[in-house]
């Protein structure tokens, strides 16, 4: 895996507040190698290690995208939901914005059934089939459609299981992480001081509370994916 330059500078990360951890009482002792100091009752992560992990994650994403792999970004915190959606659309990846339904990957055949239903409802809506039904049925179908749109809207282009999954907060998306582990899908996870770094394949110690820090890291990863994709388009 060739190492490339990803424009990661520590000053930018300090500005965004990537180095802040959670409170001292809530830490996970397995994060000890990545914590550099304790200030005012909050752990401070070691930014050199974060930068190193981030650049390696970007290298991995670049390589995978240049081979044409599919990605999935999972982020369900209310603060981060919007930026996750925009980042994924910019990078042309699948994403999960709202609640991660249990069994989305491990119970993929059932998720596929729901996606079929979503597709049928969309085609009916486009062709105006909903207006021909009585009002009550039309209202029910519209409600179903909006529900499917919120939960499955980001994965409606997913035809098979993704090859790499990016998870924004490990505590919040524990079920998603567990599913990826049982299926053997490599994961890149944003780890805070109260998370377990051994679960994910590449764990980036960072702050998962501040929107600025999530956006910064997502930005770098998205840039890596875009570059990989463009190199895939140039020579498949």
């Amino acid at each position: 895996m060739a190492r490339r330059y990803w424009n990661i500078n520590l000053e930018e990360m300090l500005e965004a507040g990537v180095h802040f951890g959670h409170g001292t009482r809530k830490w996970n002792p397995r994060m000890a190698p990545y914590i550099s100091a304790k200030r005012k009752g909050i752990h401070i992560t070691n930014l050199t290690r974060t930068a190193r992990f981030l650049s390696e994650a970007c290298d991995l994403l670049f390589d995978a995208a240049s081979k044409g792999k599919q990605f999935l970004i999972v982020g369900t915190k209310n603060k981060a939901a919007d930026s996750v959606a925009r980042a994924a659309i910019k990078a042309r990846c699948h994403y999960v914005n709202k609640k991660w339904l249990g069994g989305m990957l491990t119970n993929w055949p059932t998720t596929e059934t729901r996606l079929h239903k979503f597709r049928d409802l969309r085609t009916e809506q486009k062709t105006g089939g909903l207006n021909r039904l009585p009002k009550r049925d039309a209202a029910m179908l519209k409600r179903q459609l909006s529900r499917l749109q919120t939960y499955l809207g980001g994965i409606k282009y997913m035809t098979r299981l993704p090859d790499i999954v990016i998870i924004v907060d490990q505590q919040e998306e524990y079920t998603a992480l567990r599913e990826c582990i049982t299926l053997g899908i490599p994961t890149i996870c944003l780890i805070d001081t109260n998370c377990d770094p051994d679960l994910a394949d590449i764990s980036i110690p960072a702050n998962d509370d501040a929107i600025a820090s999530i956006r910064l890291i997502l930005n770098k990863l998205v840039v890596a994916i875009c570059e990989g994709r463009s190199s895939y388009i140039r020579n498949p």
Partner: protein, 301 residues
């Protein structure tokens, strides 16, 4: 220094580095002093039961050493490097553009609309035909595995209205070439239960180290729950001498000569699982070949 640094880091593997190997052995095989190589072997071992480990490329972690002082030295930026804009700035894309871009990459999939003119119903071949008339004909998955039912039992759950009956089937799946799996499945009908347990069995398959004479390389014991099983290799011509569940597991694995005894409980499922545990404890040919430094062909003589 490395040992104390390892002890300071709250890594669960730090104990491996503190207890150094026996001095006489370390004279012949110099053990690496850095802790990271042990971490790598532990990591590859811990990855094995999770998924199909043989095709996971763990070489990414060969150079990673969590205890060393990480110096962040990025490669120099190329000349004329303009930092790319964040995903928020830049021209707002209309929905059509986004849909077109996604469709180029993935095809229309489940979006219901097709901007580039592809067929919208492209994913329809995956829809299973619903039971329009009678039973759905499920095709038997042909992947070379034989199934044998070990036990089918009727189990009951007592609810307010009466007794709810289910069937629990235990099935052993194996090709006769060293791969077996044990599975359980419950359903309201026997056949469905057997099918469920067969799918479950195919999900946990292990491979048995077999010698040239279709027997084990050495004795082993395994337990699961209250069931203990002892397995012993035998000379060719002996056949499989074992009772009930153990015999079925060994036969489906392709082992021709072995002795097995159920020492603890006689529960079929637990004994089947205990044989699987016993077999997993046996030394694999690959590890022995690596340790002794001789090719695997020598071991099969």
């Amino acid at each position: 220094m490395a040992a104390t640094a390892a002890a300071a880091a709250a890594s669960p593997l730090s104990s491996f580095t503190i207890h150094s190997p026996i001095p006489s052995l370390s004279f012949f095989f110099p053990k690496p002093s850095k802790p990271f190589s042990l971490r790598r072997s532990f990591r590859s071992l811990s990855l094995a039961p999770k998924s199909k480990a043989s095709n996971i490329d763990t070489s990414f972690f060969d150079e990673l050493d969590p205890e060393e002082d990480v110096v962040f030295d990025p490669p120099t930026p190329p000349e004329g490097f303009i930092p790319p804009s964040s995903f928020d700035d830049g021209p707002e894309e209309t929905e059509d553009e986004i849909a077109a871009a996604y469709e180029e990459l993935y095809g229309p999939a489940y979006s219901g609309v097709s901007v580039l003119g592809n067929d919208v119903r492209v994913m329809d071949s995956k829809v299973k035909r619903t039971s329009a008339f009678g039973k759905i004909k499920k095709e038997k998955v042909k992947d070379g595995f034989d199934e044998r039912v070990v036990q089918v039992r009727r189990v009951t759950k007592v609810v307010k209205g009466g007794k709810q009956l289910h069937f629990r089937a235990i099935v052993v799946v194996g090709d006769k070439q060293g791969r077996v799996g044990v599975g359980v499945g419950k359903a309201k009908e026997v056949i469905t239960a057997v099918q469920k347990s067969a799918t479950n069995a195919r999900r946990n398959i292990i491979s048995i180290p077999m010698t040239k004479y279709l027997t084990f390389p050495h004795r082993s014991e395994g337990d699961y729950g209250a069931a203990t099983v002892m397995l012993r290799p035998a000379a060719p011509g002996t056949g499989v001498i074992a009772g009930g569940a153990v015999r079925i597991v060994l036969e489906m694995a392709g082992v021709e000569n072995a002795l097995g005894k159920q020492l603890g409980s006689k529960n079929a499922l637990n004994n089947a699982r205990a044989t699987v545990v016993a077999v997993q404890k046996m030394k694999q040919f690959r590890e022995v070949a690596q340790e002794r430094g001789i090719p695997m062909e020598e071991l099969w003589k």
